[in-house]
């Protein structure tokens, strides 16, 4: 067998793995799923005594207008985080010749993950299956319904969100699935082939994101059963994207001229606008993760604001003290680090704990992005690992420290949180590394040096900014 075709076979094998797991699943999962679901959330049990363990058809009178209104809003806010928020945040930090290519990466990611979420992503993540991956019952969103009736309308709801239509829940979760691979693009900015990027995102979204989301959030997921707390995706989104980012910059290598030529950000005002849009959009991300317009959503929103401000100040003062000037890029990066760190904790902690989490994350991420990166020598171009990976880990562990039973009904444990962090780091790193390596050995990850020097805008997209 020739070398390239061997790699293609390996890729296909990899892609088929989750299907195999999914097919094995139902028998063992069905028996284990019922027990935890019954004891899990008292609130959910009260709302629906039967405690459905899979998406069910209900009458329209079971839907809460308030919850649905907030979740429609949150969904739009989270989509805004990726386009244009993250796209601008990253685009401002690259050199002028790569701005359009960087914007393009987030936009294309939005489109491609949307389609994949419809094909199978949603089903693998949020329907019951085994401990690692969900089933395939919602393939092509099959069975997700709204039925107009003569006397009463009927619609499906997810077992994870009983008061809003399943369509809204699937859309809300889709926006999370979109932003996660888009975050990784910060690691390999300014040098990745667009074709390789599309393949990487597609495969990663299905074999890394969907299983991790399932393990952590779906009631049959093993990390969920273990009691790992992740309110809005600190583990599923940020550690997951961060560790994939680290794998990316190790496999793809440094930018041509890194360390020898100056690569200053071209337009930090774009970065500033992007960071601000991320901050506002994050209220949908965190307060939306209550999946309800209720008191816990309010507490999550408050915690988000406090942690973000504290982290922005933490980064700013750390930089001011050690480098002599408080920079715009610094305060904006600190805000994002705070948003990342409070993501798993929001909904479990109060405002005081949020301030502490933010401050710690701001300072630690500052060190990670400025010193750790240079000490270890990898080129994580826009600090996707330094901010999302490190910030996510800090947030996940501190959630274990500060989780308040009064707010959430759950006890936190650092040891339990470590299971979530460890699983995601190991699974995410290995899978990401292998996917990238396979792409590199087949079609190649990087553009040629000549194209890289010319800039990706012209060489990949035939356009340029003047």
């Amino acid at each position: 067998m020739s070398k390239p075709s061997r790699w293609v076979c390996a890729l296909m094998l990899l892609l088929s793995m989750p299907v195999v797991w999914a097919d094995d699943a139902p028998a063992s999962a069905a028996s284990t799923a019922a027990a935890p679901a019954a004891t899990e959330a008292p609130a959910a049990a009260a709302a629906a005594p039967a405690g459905p363990t899979e998406p069910v058809l209900v009458g329209a009178d079971k839907i809460s207008a308030g919850d649905t209104a907030w979740m429609l809003t949150s969904t739009a806010l989270v989509l805004m985080m990726t386009i244009p928020g993250l796209a601008l945040f990253y685009a401002g930090m690259v050199r002028k010749k790569n701005i359009l290519a960087t914007l393009m990466q987030s936009f294309a990611c939005t489109c491609i993950v949307t389609i994949l979420w419809w094909v199978i992503g949603y089903s693998w993540a949020f329907t019951p299956g085994n401990g690692f991956i969900g089933g395939s019952t919602r393939w092509l969103m099959n069975g997700m319904a709204f039925v107009h009736g003569d006397t009463e309308n009927k619609l499906t709801v997810s077992h994870l969100a009983l008061t809003i239509p399943e369509t809204v829940y699937a859309m809300f979760q889709m926006t999370f699935a979109i932003i996660t691979p888009a975050l990784i693009t910060g690691a390999f900015a300014e040098r990745m082939k667009f074709s390789a990027l599309l393949i990487f995102m597609s495969v990663w979204s299905l074999v890394v994101y969907a299983p991790i989301a399932h393990m952590v959030w779906e009631p049959t997921g093993w990390l969920n059963l273990k009691g790992v707390l992740d309110y809005a995706g600190g583990t599923v989104v940020h550690i997951n994207a961060g560790i994939a980012a680290l794998a990316s910059c190790l496999v793809i290598g440094k930018r041509t001229g890194y360390g020898k030529e100056a690569m200053p950000p071209h337009n930090l005002s774009l970065t500033f606008i992007g960071a601000s849009l991320l901050w506002v959009g994050w209220f949908g991300f965190n307060a939306g993760s209550a999946v309800a317009a209720d008191g816990r959503a309010g507490m999550a929103m408050l915690a988000t604001q406090m942690a973000t401000a504290a982290a922005a100040l933490g980064w700013m003062f750390a930089e001011w003290i050690s480098k002599g000037k408080p920079s715009v890029l610094g305060i904006a990066s600190g805000a994002v680090a705070g948003l990342v760190a409070i993501t798993p904790a929001s909904g479990f902690v109060g405002p005081t704990a949020a301030v502490i989490i933010g401050l710690v994350a701001g300072v630690i991420c500052y060190v990670a992005a400025t010193s750790l990166k240079h000490a270890l020598g990898y080129d994580d171009s826009l600090d996707a690992f330094g901010v999302h990976g490190i910030g996510g880990i800090v947030g996940a562990l501190l959630t274990g420290v500060f989780a308040s039973k009064e707010i959430s009904g759950s006890e936190g444990s650092v040891v339990t949180q470590l299971w979530g962090v460890g699983t995601t780091v190991v699974y995410g790193f290995i899978l990401s590394y292998v996917i990238l390596l396979v792409i590199d050995k087949t079609i190649g990850l990087r553009v040629s040096e000549e194209r890289e020097r010319e800039g990706l805008d012209i060489s990949l997209h035939g356009e340029s900014l003047e």
């Binding site: 930090m93 100056a262 690569m263 200053p264 480098k323 920079s327 610094g330 992005a369 400025t370």
Partner: protein, 112 residues
């Protein structure tokens, strides 16, 4: 006839324009330029990565003048562009062989 070329701090442009108008200059060409002199560059820091910016932005003005105006214009520029700090710029004076006003075809002093 002389061509007076001055490199000045960008924020001094309005002051210089007013000063040379006052001594009778009718036209000037302005260009945004970069360069270094004794001021050297400055350091920029982005997430811990330090970049030496060696060429800093300046404004170049070019004025063509008749001989009688050379000294008044030089004085006007030197006075209006001065802050007393390093980086105020320089004035270069060179001979000007010919001048043509394109609209009318006038030449030399009549064209200035």
């Amino acid at each position: 006839m002389k061509l007076i070329t001055a490199i000045i701090k960008p924020f001094k442009l309005d002051d210089v324009r007013k000063a040379i108008s006052d001594v009778g200059v009718q036209g000037v060409t302005v260009t945004e330029v970069r360069g270094f002199g004794r001021q050297r560059g400055h350091t920029e820091i982005y997430r811990g990565a330090e970049y030496m910016v060696e060429f800093i932005p300046k404004t170049k003005i070019e004025v063509a003048v008749i001989d009688a105006l050379v000294d008044p214009v030089i004085d006007a520029i030197a006075k209006s562009a001065q802050t007393g700090k390093v980086g105020d710029g320089k004035i270069f004076v060179s001979d000007l062989a010919h001048v043509v006003r394109i609209r009318t075809g006038e030449r030399d002093e009549g064209a200035i």
